[in-house]
Each structure stands twice: as C-alpha cells, then as structure tokens.
Symmetry: C2
Subunit: 420 residues, 2 copies
C-alpha cells in the first residue's frame, strides 16, 4: 500500500468543525438561542432541501441568486431541488402552511445553514450558518422597535457595548414618499435609484451624482435625491427611531442610502455595522416584508425579521477581543498505569458518572506522565491514576490539575467530594 | 390575486420542524449531547457536502448506496458532490487529516443530518438526524465495552430501563475463526454467508438452510454454520460480554447472525433493539473499523463507534411512553389592553429582561381575555396586563397563570419577585 490516498480536505468552500472550532460555534449558537428565548422566541427548523420554485416565484425573485448562485439540481424523481440560500422563503412557507392554527403574533428563531455557490475567495464561504429571527402577524411599529432591540441585545449579550457598532435604519415606504416629493413618481425609476443607493458608500459623490443624473435626467431632482440619500435633507425622526431611543438604544442612525438586496421588503429595513473599520460588511440585516406569505395563497401575514451570519459574528468578536468558547471537557480522567487495568477504570468511571461526574478513561498505552499532561491540555479538572495498589486497597487519589491538590479516599468519599 | 399559490409543503420526504416538533427534537439532542459529554466525548461537525469520491473508495464501498441511494450532483465547477449519507467516512477523513496533531484516544460525537434518496414510503425519510459517537486510537477491548456502555446509557438517560431493549453483539474476527473451524476458509464464501446471515431473522429456518447449502455446497458444513448462526453451537463468553456484565449491563446477547451492512467493520459489531415488538428496525448500530483512516494514506488509526437515528429514537420513546420535550416559553408575557401601550410594554419588558426574566409582548389587537388564554396555551407562567391605570400609577399586577395568584407592586418589586 502506498502512502498516498484520498484527500482529507473538505469540499471546496465549506468548513470542518474540529472540537475546538465547534466549541466556538456552540458558544455563538448558545448566546443567539438564549437571547432569542429571552424575548420569547420559539425555535423552529426545516430541511436544507427546498423545491426550487420557492425561490423563483414573484416577490422573492432575485434572478442572479437563483440562476447563478444556488446549488440547484434535479432529483431522481425529476423534481428540481435547491439547497436553501436563505431562510425567509422557508419560514414564510411554514407560517403560510399553518396560518389558521397559529396564534399571532408569532416569534420564531432558527439557526439554519445556508448555501451559496460563489467563486471561492477569502471570507466567502459556500456554506454558512445564520441566526434568523422573525415576528409574524403584528404590524405595529413597536414590533419594528422590538426586532431591532433584539438585534442590539444579541451583540450586548456577547459582551459588546454600543460604541462598537452602529445600527442603520431606513424605510421603504418613507423612501417612496421621499422620491415622490422629490418629483420621481415612476416606480421603475424609484427601483433603479434604490439599486444605485446600494452602492452609495462604495463610490464617490460625483460617481453617485452622475449615475443618478443618468437615471432621472433632471438636475434639480438629482440635487433633491442626493440631499435625501446623503442625509443633508433634514427630516423629522420617525417613530421607530424614537421607540429605540425610549429603550435607551442610541447607536442608531437613519441612513437613506440603505437599500438591502431583497425586493420583498415593504417598510422598515435595517443593518448593523462594526464601527472598528476592520469589518466592512453588514453583520446583520433585516426588515419588514408584509406580503411574503401571500405567495402561498390566502390572506397575507405581515412579517419582520433579520438574519445574522456566523462568520461576520465571529469576525466581530475577534476584532473586539470578545471571542470565547464552550469547551466541553470531562471533569475527571482516569489514568490506568497499565492497560490490564482499563476495564477496572471503566467500572470506576461508571460509579463517578452515576454521581453526575463526567469522566473519560485514558486507555492508551502512554506513560502516566504523558497521560497527565494530555489531560491538562484537554482542560480536564481532575485525574485519578489507577495502578496495582489502588485496585488492591480500594483507596484512590484524585488530583486537581490546576490547584495541584490531591485528596485520597474510597470511591464513595471521592465521588461525593468531586460531584459537589 | 387568486387564492391559489405556491405549495406550503416541504420537499418530498423531509420534515418541517414547527416549534412543538422542534422542542421534542431539542430534547432528544440535549439528552444525546449530555450523555456523550458525561463520557468525555467532544462535539465536532462538518458540512453535509462531501466530495463524492469519499463514498466510492474501496473499503467504504457499498455500491447500491453510492449509485442509487445518494443525492449526488455535479457543481458549477465540475466537481461531483454528495450530500452525506452517513457520518463515518467524514469523521475518518477528519481524524486522518489531523492524525499527527491529535492526542489519542480521541472521543468524538456529532449530531449530523444525513441524506438518502429512497422511494417514499412510511417511516423512510430522505433526511434524518443521527447521533454519531466514535473512539479513535484505542483498540483495547475495554473500549468496545465503553462504547456499548455509552449506547446503553443513552437509553437509560431517556428514562428507559434495561427490560425495554436488548443489545446484540457479534464480532467479525470471531466469525472468521468460526467459519474457518466449520470448514469454510474461502473469504468470498465467508462474505456471502455473512450477507445471508443479515436475512436470518427475516426468513424461515428452511429458507436459510437452503440458501446456505447453495453457498457452501456441503451438507455437514451447512449444519455446522447453522448451529453457529442460530446459537445452538455453545461458545465461551467473549471478553466484551464479560466486560459489559462487570458494568452491570445484562441485557446483552451474542447474536452470530448479526451482520451489519457495511463492509468496513473488522471486529466487534453491535445493534440495539426495542423488545416491545412495536419497532423492528435496529435503534442503533455500530462496530469496530480498524482500517478506515488508512484510505487517506499514512498509518491507520483504529476506530469504534455507533450511529443512532432520531426517528427510531422517537418511535422508541413514544412506544414506551417516555417522550417529553424542551418547550421554551417566556416566563412572562405583557398584555397591553390597547395597542397605544405597546411601546410602553416593550420598555417594561426590557426592564424584566435585565433581571434575567424572559418576556414577550402580545402586541396584537386581540381582547385581553383572549391574550390571557393564548399565553396559557403557550405555557407562559406569568402575565402582566398593561392598561391606562398601570401606566399612570406605575403600579403593576403580575398573575401566575397556573396558581391563579396575583401580586402587585412597582416594577422593581415585581422583577425581584419573578426573577427568583
């Protein structure tokens, strides 16, 4: 047999989660879940496989994404299947399916993995995880405030403070009114401007103005729209902003250039940015989409929600030195001095477990010294070295690896000691 | 707009997890995770996307599965990709990839979703979840005992007792010795007998004997093999069985007909069965596979592990009346009597949350009586009705929905009361 073999690399653009990576992932997921549940959100889930038509329907249409950026294939039964690229169409489908049974408002969250076929490049993965939080069946503005407040507390519960990030909000309905007031009443032209606004922060003022002029073909209107989008045009605070301030959330700005990619938003839209300058992509984005469930027939159910990715979350935590992890290590490791005692070690391990102590057995053929240092490296708290004497006398010693303190006694005495 | 629209059904053969289903799923996953961690197992994960070659290589070969039962497609970069049908090849790949850095023995667990393209039929899903537990780098028999003991405690920790299930064990090496002793030394013939044994419990004695006779072409050998497989041939207990008995695990039988589907097993194999008669498929199965990582080149790392599906787990719990769920409901729900008070409700909710109380706000336009009954149905413990008087006087009443007791006071008084 040669020394070569199959590659141990994962598929291109996806990640392996070895235990130390998984511990970070678990930490992030746990904080997300606990925060969502503190706001009364219930967890749901669905399969990554969805009928492709879910992403092709009017209202969800985003041609570039469906045609070029999804994993779509034909199954053996001639059905067209897509690996979900986002969760909102799925949750809209589920809400629509139980519209009559559900008691609204409904607050739901999920932590799905999402797939996009992207050209491989740094930081652009083909699979990532995304927290999704949505409130359905409530269109009062206080709900817009609540969902943004939830996003805000997501970051605070990781130990962030408000100086580290900024919430940018806009509103699709207000933008339509502002466009109308500025003299742009054609909805196609409005859409074109919104798409241009998406680039506002990435191009120069002049580039923006020139592109705008090309759309509206009028110098005065160009000036008016520019004033709105750039924030030069002063407006009254809207009620969502006031609501957030009432809750003490002050790192919020109205950003009229905020467009969001998806066409299904109808009201409030928002994004959350790291202000350190290290991470330029939005960490979180969302908005209100009042007509999405109507794609499935029947009365529409209004919705508002956001999505927040694990990769950007992790980048933010790393940048601000907030990253930690939920490493799980057994409290105790039993270290037989000879493999002849391995079975006895298993028996002792079981007695500790009955008392609620998590235990592993190092059944390798390594020397005891090496077993102890390996246990310490794996964040084990206590070790019990098991040799001939211990087995004969039924007296054991348990050593605390951090405090370097050793206590001896019978199993009953030691389990009681450690378990508490 | 017509009343018809897109279907709200999920893709064929997969499940939507509405919150009440998700709560059951979370309960099962939590018990799995806690039990694995009590044995010192660390959690890992990987993507559902794997290069197809991982399932085509010799040693993992299971032609029917790879060719007819997987979701396999070509990606836009001309790579052949498979949605993982099982986790063992993935974990072997990951172990092989860090063979040099890892400190063995390694105990790993994961709860992946797995995909199989199967003809739709009752109870046969195209996507299911499976707990996978494996120990790598230890070939002492005490490790075989440990992994079976872990499987046993998985069920006990759901509240099952040993009378509800049976563990059947066998050993590939011992079978080879028994075949040899019975006069069958040809390894192809041995494999054919093993495949026939897989059907032993599904066909009659005579059918089995006839099929066996066709393979071995010798009446005496047929008798000998039958005696072995049926258990008529008395043997000494092997050390794994003795080890399990030492741990007090008595619901174990040696079953020489046990074959397991996969060709990569090399030693101990085992399955766990519900004895109620309600569920005939194995709930859990696994074994030792000492050569799997060698597919990736370099020195092989021995492994032993098992997989346990969520669907069979749930069927077992249901049959034995052990099914429960981790329903997450907010401790408190605030019920404004008018939507004009919704924003004030959000503010009060935030103050409770600071004290560690989970809170939702019913911002719907329903009458208060309906809001209270909806909260009770959603397993909320306390409600706070918020009206004109409460806002004016800054005095609130919190009602315990189960005990029907109401306490009044300022926010500070009430948060302290509920939070403890």
């Amino acid at each position: 047999m040669t020394n070569k073999g199959l590659s141990t690399d994962p598929y291109k653009g996806v990640r392996d989660f070895y235990p130390e990576e998984m511990a970070i992932q678990s930490y992030i997921f746990d904080v997300w879940a606990q925060t969502a549940e503190s706001f009364g959100f219930e967890r749901y889930d669905a399969s990554i496989l969805e009928p492709s038509e879910l992403y092709k329907s009017k209202g969800l249409e985003n041609e570039e994404m469906v045609n070029e950026q999804t994993y779509t294939f034909i199954d053996r039964g001639d059905r067209e299947v897509t690996l979900r690229p986002e969760m909102t169409p799925t949750v809209a489908r589920m809400i629509a399916g139980r519209r009559r049974e559900l008691s609204f408002p409904v607050r739901w969250y999920s932590i799905p993995n999402l797939f996009r076929y992207e050209r491989p490049q740094k930081g652009r993965l083909r699979e990532h995880y995304q927290l999704n939080c949505d409130i359905f069946g409530a269109d009062d503005y206080s709900v817009d405030v609540e969902i943004i407040s939830l996003a805000y507390h997501m970051l605070l519960n990781f130990g962030a403070d408000a100086s580290m990030f900024e919430i940018r909000i806009n509103n699709r309905k207000e933008m339509t009114e502002l466009y109308n007031a500025a003299g742009v009443t054609d909805s196609n032209m409005q859409t074109k401007i919104t798409r241009l606004n998406d680039k506002f922060r990435k191009i120069t003022k002049d580039e923006y103005k020139n592109a705008l002029m090309e759309i509206v073909q009028d110098k005065e209107i160009t000036q008016k729209i520019y004033a709105i989008v750039s924030g030069e045009h002063k407006e009254e605070q809207n009620e969502v902003l006031r609501g957030l301030q009432l809750l003490g959330i002050k790192n919020v700005v109205v950003d009229r250039s905020l467009a969001r990619g998806f066409d299904y938003y109808t009201g409030t839209i928002f994004e959350l940015f790291d202000v350190s300058g290290e991470n330029n992509r939005a960490m979180l984005g969302g908005g209100r989409y009042d007509n999405l469930t109507s794609l499935f027939g029947g009365e529409p159910v209004s919705g508002i929600g956001f999505g927040m990715g694990d990769v950007t979350m992790r980048d933010f935590l790393q940048t601000h030195d907030l990253l930690t992890s939920n490493i799980t290590a057994p409290l105790l490791s039993i270290l037989p001095t000879d493999s002849a005692y391995n079975m006895e070690a298993q028996k002792i391990a079981q007695e500790f477990r009955v008392a609620g102590v998590s235990v592993s057995v190092d059944c390798s053929t390594k020397k005891v010294g090496k077993k102890i240092s390996d246990a310490a490296e794996a964040f084990v708290s206590y070790v019990l070295v098991l040799g001939e004497n211990e087995i004969r006398d039924k007296k054991y010693s348990v050593k605390n690896l951090e405090e370097k303190v050793e206590v001896s006694g019978t199993l009953a005495e030691l389990t009681e000691k450690i378990a508490t």
